[in-house]
């Protein structure tokens, strides 16, 4: 994955960082440039499609001066969405892969990928909060505005984080990825409070929409490796995308998971259907045209302002995938991501707090002092 990077810009202030030193080992010197300022920093507006493409191929290693740790956007919309207790640690931004539906297309304004080199500062911020709340089961993810592992062969941040979380067994670290890059941390297992999670999709959807990501078999194989090394594993079947033959394709996906894993091996499975911000439409159409299932999709404004499929179609898709899992075993732990109470009730006939296997995930926890 990191071979796709065309240029590595290193902030001169970060030259001594471990990541910068590693970049010098991994990349030919002509790919690296030491700079005083962020490249293309004159761009102070939303990006064009071409600038967005460029931002995926160029990376800036620099320090971050804000707060590294924040709450999941779903948990700040509790009035309209059911969301689990999730916190986010941002150690960089942008992603070298290229999914047609990626929300970074409307979220990011930065003209270059970034890796924050001051991870030690992030860890001390985290330590302060973990020390004060070590008895509570908080979950921390690193894959909000960057894929957790796609650039990990460069940063090796997974190693630092896994070691850190070993000191707080009640806290859970979650990596979220569409890559198969796990070899760099396997030797640190067992670490059951590190969940390595994969966004999975039907093979057909991966090929059509999730460009430059690992294939389904490679993702599942990487998950097996993690399990064997003593890590926890989770799957996000998200976004489920409607297409001709969706039932067969998603049945195949569920069957592949259930034949290769047992319910006790998979921490949790979340389901979500396609959704995106209306502002994102233009960029998606420009970048991926109408061969993309995402642009062909019939989307409507929904609660929380995002565009989603018709509610009854969403229910049908959730019910189908949910029943397919349950037909293999009742023990699969499944929840809906970023969904309204109505959808929960029509899929499961209950709210998440009333499902014994999900209660712990959705139990309200005190808000810890992080920015909203």
């Amino acid at each position: 994955m990191i071979e796709r990077l065309e240029k590595i810009f290193i902030d001169e202030k970060s030259l001594d960082s471990e990541v910068a030193q590693r970049a010098f080992q991994l990349f030919p010197r002509q790919k690296i440039e030491v700079v005083k300022e962020e490249p293309w920093s004159d761009i102070k507006r939303s990006l064009t499609a071409e600038e967005f493409e460029r931002s995926k191929k160029n990376i800036f290693l620099t320090t971050f001066n804000g707060q590294f740790f924040k709450r999941c956007p779903g948990s700040t919309q509790k009035k309209v969405l059911n969301c689990c207790n999730y916190h986010i640690l941002n150690l960089g931004s942008q992603c070298p892969m290229n999914c047609s539906y990626c929300y970074l297309q409307s979220y990011l304004n930065s003209p270059i990928s970034k890796i924050y080199t001051n991870i030690d500062q992030a860890l001390s911020e985290l330590k302060e909060m973990a020390d004060a709340n070590s008895h509570l089961p908080f979950r921390v993810g690193t894959g909000e505005i960057i894929d957790s592992l796609a650039l990990d062969p460069l940063t090796l941040y997974s190693r630092k984080l896994i070691e850190f979380f070993k000191q707080y067994p009640k806290w859970t670290l979650e990596f979220k990825t569409k890559s198969n890059l796990v070899d760099q941390f396997l030797d640190l297992g067992p670490a059951t409070n590190t969940i390595v999670s994969w966004s999975l999709n039907a093979d057909y959807v991966i090929q059509k929409e999730e460009h430059l990501t690992a294939s389904l078999s490679d993702r599942l194989q990487a998950a097996q490796k993690c399990l064997s090394s003593g890590f926890s594993v989770a799957f996000h079947l998200d976004p489920l995308i409607y297409h001709e033959g969706w039932k067969e394709n998603y049945a195949d996906l569920v069957d592949r998971i259930t034949t290769q894993f047992t319910p006790s091996q998979v921490n949790v499975i979340s389901l979500g259907t396609l959704r995106f911000q209306p502002e994102q439409r233009f960029m998606m159409k420009k970048r991926f045209g109408f061969d993309s299932l995402v642009n062909q999709a019939e989307m409507f404004p929904s609660e929380g302002a995002k565009l989603r499929y018709d509610a009854s179609l969403r229910n049908e898709m959730f019910k189908f995938v949910y029943s397919r899992f349950k037909s293999h075993s009742e023990s699969w732990r499944i929840f809906l991501c970023m969904e309204t109470p109505e959808t929960w009730i029509s899929t499961f006939e209950s709210q998440p707090m009333n499902k014994p296997e999900l209660k712990e995930l959705f139990r309200p926890l005190p808000t810890i002092s992080v920015s909203e």
Partner: protein, 254 residues
């Protein structure tokens, strides 16, 4: 005060409001800013033109409001770059400085005048026009024709533009879309949802005749809008019982 004949008309952007004949016109240096169509002997106040100075505030005080089409025309005038730069003007008139806005502004003056007028009258924003930018020039002309030939409201026009742009990109031919009602375009763009909605609509549910009901779509949900009048508690009870029966029947059919 000088006479209008002494000034350049190189900033004439065909403003929609004509300048009053009883008031002197205003120029920035030798460039007339208003009263372009007044007689040659009309008096003009000459505001000094300073190099590297943002003159957008002068424009804003003469024209507190300018439409998208007017700004687009102003940007294309031959003397524009001698007096202004685009960014302060875009900011002064509340447009977002995006590359798409710039594309809209440079494209608009090439469109028929009637289209520019339509945009001005209905106060279109640059974002409303984004779907047009996705199309090749040849298809844009067709879409503009369509927008001009329907007496739509602003909201309907914006919707029509997005539907036409999507459908053309989905390889529907212009002939198959020409002159279509908005509802038909919607059905073509959302065939799956249209089918699901009409299947639901056809359901034979045991409504009381006193309960007015209409199947409707609201965003991502479709369902019944129900209206009734109850004059007594007994009537209300009767309606409630009927609603329960309808709910059961609806549930068993879906």
């Amino acid at each position: 005060m000088k006479l209008k004949s002494n000034f350049s008309l190189g900033l004439d952007f065909k403003p929609l409001q004509s300048w009053p004949e009883t008031v002197p016109a205003v120029a920035l240096g030798s460039y007339l800013l208003c009263g372009f169509s007044l007689p040659e002997d009309h008096p003009v106040y000459e505001h000094p033109l300073q190099n590297s100075f943002d003159h957008s505030n002068v424009l804003k005080s003469l024209y507190p409001q300018l439409t998208l089409s007017e700004i687009a025309r102003l940007f294309q005038t031959p003397d524009f770059s001698k007096v202004f730069t685009p960014e302060p003007i875009e900011k002064a008139y509340g447009f977002h400085l995006t590359p798409e806005t710039q594309e809209v502004l440079s494209y608009l003056p090439q469109t028929p005048e009637s289209f520019q007028t339509l945009l001005s009258q209905k106060k279109w924003s640059p974002q409303d026009l984004h779907p047009l930018l996705l199309l090749p020039l040849s298809s844009r002309a067709f879409v503009i024709e369509e927008l001009l030939s329907h007496a739509d409201s602003k909201q309907e026009s914006v919707k029509r533009l997005e539907l036409l742009s999507d459908l053309l990109m989905m390889k529907h031919s212009p002939e198959s879309l020409s002159g279509m009602k908005l509802e038909i375009l919607h059905q073509k763009r959302y065939p799956l949802t249209t089918d699901r909605d009409s299947a639901q609509k056809k359901q034979d549910l045991p409504w009381l005749s006193q309960i007015k009901n209409q199947f409707k779509r609201r965003g991502d949900k479709a369902g019944y809008e129900v209206q009734f009048f109850a004059g007594t508690p007994a009537e209300l009870n009767k309606m409630a019982q009927n609603l329960t029966r309808v709910a059961e029947a609806w549930n068993s059919k879906s």
